[in-house]
């Protein structure tokens, strides 16, 4: 890497950081103002007999009587120090709630994402590798399915088939409650039960995960499949393929070692951009499958006007999505510097 490259690279990082800060400012201000624009006082709403004196006392305790600018600064300070206050409704610490619900959503999203990548990559590679009309049709079908069928409806159908008709899968929740859950280490029941070596619990967790993960996998599968397929159809790839064949490599080695590597950079970008969609989809999937994750928690908090949950968790999730996009952009750049050009460079 020469100096010119390094400078360009650093410039790129700087630009991303500046953008990140801008997004933080916009998002936090939007949330802050949205909360102050709530019709009706959220503090009075939670009291059974909200006489003005009590409401005033409560506002003082929560620091809502201070000037608006001070409140905004305090909000920023508390957000970054991780002191996210307590839910007005349950009195629980928001941070503890997030530590509780977020791993559940992450587990579900990652399961859906990995399943989606596996399905997407396999379909694309086999469709192109075998040049099979049927596989091509399937990949087309997959691409359309992921874009045209609402995820929650698939979820409902999956419940009818997998749970009511076949009876194979539980109709909701994350774990079989007649068992004691494995000791909490990572927050992911799959990993925790494996760490504890408790197979029965691992299967119980897998069993609960199957239906929601399949639903969630459709969108990334469709995205990955179409991007990878487009890449593999590139005439340059065709030349590379022939060259590799001429060297006497078997098809498995050609496809899975060489071509996939070339094709993976746009796939990584797609993974980054579909992470947000995945979280959005997780909100719906969690609702259908009673999955105790962050999505349901957020929706409930917004409808209940639960101040501290809304202003911290929503901001956190937004920044997280943005962060993941930046990181995957960066990764894609590292994997294949030529194939990726970020939006701003155009």
């Amino acid at each position: 890497m020469n100096a010119e490259h390094l400078i360009r690279f650093l410039k790129g990082v700087g630009r991303k950081l500046a953008l990140f800060v801008t997004i933080y400012l916009i998002a936090s201000m939007a949330l802050f103002m949205a909360i102050r624009a709530i019709p009706g006082d959220p503090i009075a709403l939670r009291l059974k007999n909200p006489d003005p004196v009590r409401v005033a006392k409560e506002r003082e305790r929560l620091g809502l009587d201070k000037p608006v600018m001070t409140q905004y600064v305090l909000y920023g300070k508390s957000f970054w120090t991780g002191d996210w206050g307590r839910s007005l409704l349950s009195g629980r610490k928001v941070r503890e709630d997030v530590a509780q619900f977020f791993p559940a959503t992450l587990e579900l999203s990652l399961a859906g994402l990995s399943l989606g990548i596996i399905i997407g990559v396999l379909t694309a590679v086999f469709a192109e590798g075998f040049r099979s009309q049927w596989l091509k049709r399937f990949s087309f079908f997959l691409g359309t399915l992921g874009l045209t069928v609402p995820i929650f409806w698939i979820g409902l159908l999956a419940l009818i088939v997998g749970s009511l008709w076949l009876g194979w899968f539980p109709s909701g929740g994350r774990f079989d409650l007649s068992m004691v859950p494995p000791p909490n280490v990572t927050g992911s029941l799959l990993i925790d039960s494996l760490l504890a070596g408790q197979w029965e619990k691992f299967w119980a967790a897998v069993n609960h995960l199957v239906l929601p993960a399949i639903c969630l996998s459709l969108y990334p599968a469709a995205q990955v499949c179409s991007v990878l397929q487009a890449r593999l159809q590139d005439p340059k790839i065709e030349i590379l393929k022939r060259a590799l064949k001429a060297r006497g490599f078997g098809p498995a080695r050609i496809w899975f070692r060489h071509l996939l590597k070339v094709g993976s950079a746009p796939v990584v970008t797609v993974i980054g951009t579909s992470f947000g969609a995945l979280l959005g989809g997780a909100v719906l999937t969690e609702t259908v499958f009673s999955w105790p994750g962050i999505g349901r928690y957020m929706v409930a908090a917004v409808l209940d006007r639960d101040l501290y949950v809304v202003q911290n968790v929503l901001l956190l999730v937004i920044l997280l999505v943005v962060g993941v996009v930046f990181i995957t952009d960066f990764l894609a750049h590292v994997i294949n510097p030529v194939a990726t050009k970020s939006e701003e460079d155009q």
């Binding site: 009291l47 709630d97 509780q100 009876g167 109709s171 609702t287 105790p292 928690y297």
Partner: protein, 533 residues
């Protein structure tokens, strides 16, 4: 080609295992053995587990397994029987209540139950400087059901005395419900800030852990004092399953053993199914329609009567509650003190209603806004369905109605601030006393803007006098007379239209025994066990 196939298998093997995981534990397997864990599923999670600072059914139903009060309702009735107090006396003038505590009872943390320990649960609510008077807690019931209590003190080791500022004939009942449950005084020290989420009581099950939005787990209290109702399960789990349909499926597949919040339409099929037992009895609640008397269009008594007569309450109970409730004639549940024995005060008469309304062009001129909450409450399992029904009834007599569904909190907020025209709402009784309904609905002291429970803004000195008189009166016959007068005034002025009393419904697997529905709607799982084989 072979290696390609091999790779295919290595990738697909985990996938197929994943799918096989599904057949790992089939429902039949679960129900054939008798688990030592009882799982009960409901629609939402508890909010807090501090008896003095909760008001939602899910929290109360969890606390009821863990904590107990000095007295309790005899199972399935509104009769008071001793609980943690072995006996009690009430002084002649009704100003002093004396409770003698049971010997040998211990809280789950080992603290012995003494008068001193019992005081903690009351003092922390009364005394703002008490360390247990947490700043984030509201103690909303204290000012509202127990406001006459002037002092609570210990007399000797095992006697607790309550001194009242004026008599309140419903206080003993109020002492049997959750805000008066006893918690261990040492729990505050042990759990600090988390005290409100870690209840320590004397009940049949003790708190183990709580995974929010998922489950609250309790375990057997092996030293439970009430041997006849000793817990039968090693563990008790209160599970959250938000969707009614999914919850029922969980019951059918054997993943849970009991549920509440049933989709009423499912009831008929369940009742004939030998695998399940359906418990159903009228709940202590009333769902009603309230007028806003500050709205000039509803100032006329005649208009209010006409609207009331236009609604087929029996049909409403049948459709909106799918037959799992009954039409309400009075603003108090059936069988309550003061309920007249005869007659239907508001007949269903759309013809007459149409005639009356024809004489009031102002009410017909513009659409009326009917406001309703979108989440189910006990009195309206499907409030929006009820609103849809009422809209079609009112439109039949010539009115035009628009429905505005809001989430419960916002709905309540606009009712409390009198920012509505017609409102659909209800009340769940707390302590089984008539005062707990009529004072809430009609007391002029309940019309403070922002905190009102008398949403109609009904003010009548005569009504106030009767209500306060009945509250102080200890003679049941005289109280009855006063409440009858209140109801006569209500019928004359009609600030609210009672619509339905909905049933409490719990469904369990039929192998379970010992369950009984409680009148005040709480859940007692302590005595529940498997039937002998």
């Amino acid at each position: 080609m072979f290696s390609l196939f091999r790779r295919f298998v290595t990738v697909f093997l985990p996938l197929s295992l994943l799918l096989l995981g599904g057949s790992g534990c089939s429902p039949k397997e679960l129900s054939s053995k008798r688990p030592e864990t009882l799982i009960f599923a409901r629609g939402s999670d508890a909010q807090k587990l501090d008896p003095a600072d909760v008001d939602d059914g899910e929290s109360v139903n969890t606390i009821s397994q863990i904590c107990e009060g000095l007295v309790r309702f005899k199972s399935g009735t509104l009769e008071i029987e001793p609980s943690l107090a072995e006996s009690y006396e009430i002084s002649e003038n009704g100003l002093r209540y004396t409770f003698h505590l049971r010997e040998g009872v211990r809280f789950h943390d080992g603290t012995a139950l003494t008068a001193e320990a019992a005081l903690f649960s009351f003092h922390r609510q009364m005394d703002e400087s008490h360390p247990g008077h947490l700043p984030e807690a509201n103690f909303q019931y204290w000012n509202y059901l127990y406001q006459e209590i002037k002092e609570v003190r210990a007399e000797g080791e095992m006697t607790v005395v309550f001194e009242l500022s004026e008599p309140n004939s419903s206080l003993l009942y109020s002492l049997a419900i959750f805000p008066a449950f006893l918690v261990s005084p040492n729990a505050l020290e042990t759990y600090g800030e988390e005290f409100q989420r870690h209840p320590v009581g004397t009940g049949p099950y003790r708190f183990l852990n709580w995974t929010p939005n998922q489950a609250i787990v309790m375990e057997k209290n092996p030293d439970y004092w009430d041997v006849a109702n000793a817990p039968k399960f090693e563990r008790l789990v209160m599970k959250v399953v938000p969707e009614n349909s999914v919850r029922l499926l969980e019951l059918k597949s054997g993943h849970v053993h009991g549920i509440d919040g049933l989709q009423p339409a499912e009831l008929a099929a369940l009742e004939s199914d030998p695998r399940f037992t359906v418990y159903q009895r009228p709940g202590m609640n009333v769902g009603y329609l309230t007028y806003n008397l500050q709205d000039p269009r509803f100032t006329s008594r005649e208009v209010r009567l006409a609207i009331a007569m236009a609604i087929d309450r029996k049909g409403l109970a049948k459709i909106a509650l799918d037959g799992t409730g009954r039409a309400a004639d009075y603003p108090i549940p059936p069988g309550f003190l003061g309920e007249p024995k005869k007659g239907n005060p508001i007949p269903y008469d759309p013809e007459r209603a149409r005639e009356i309304l024809a004489a009031h062009p102002d009410i017909l001129a513009a659409p009326i806004k009917l406001q309703v909450m979108s989440q189910p409450r006990q009195y309206f399992p499907d409030p929006v369905k009820a609103a849809s029904f009422i809209r079609s009834e009112l439109e039949k007599v010539g009115l035009t109605v628009t429905i505005e569904a809001k989430d419960f909190k916002s709905h309540l907020n606009s009712l409390r601030n009198f920012e509505f025209e017609l409102g659909l709402i209800g009340w769940m009784g707390d302590n089984g006393d008539t005062d707990n309904f009529l004072s809430i609905f009609f007391g002029s002291w309940a019309t403070i803007k922002g905190a009102a429970s008398n949403y109609a803004f009904y003010k009548n000195d005569e009504m106030d006098a009767y209500l306060l008189g009945a509250r102080r009166e200890t003679d049941m016959a005289k109280r009855q007379e006063l409440y009858e007068k209140c109801l006569a005034l209500w019928r004359r002025d009609l600030p609210i239209v009672p619509l339905v009393h909905s049933n409490n419904i719990v469904v369990t697997r039929s192998e379970l025994t010992g369950f009984e529905l409680q009148l005040i709607g709480d859940l007692r799982l302590g005595p529940v066990g498997w039937k002998a084989e």
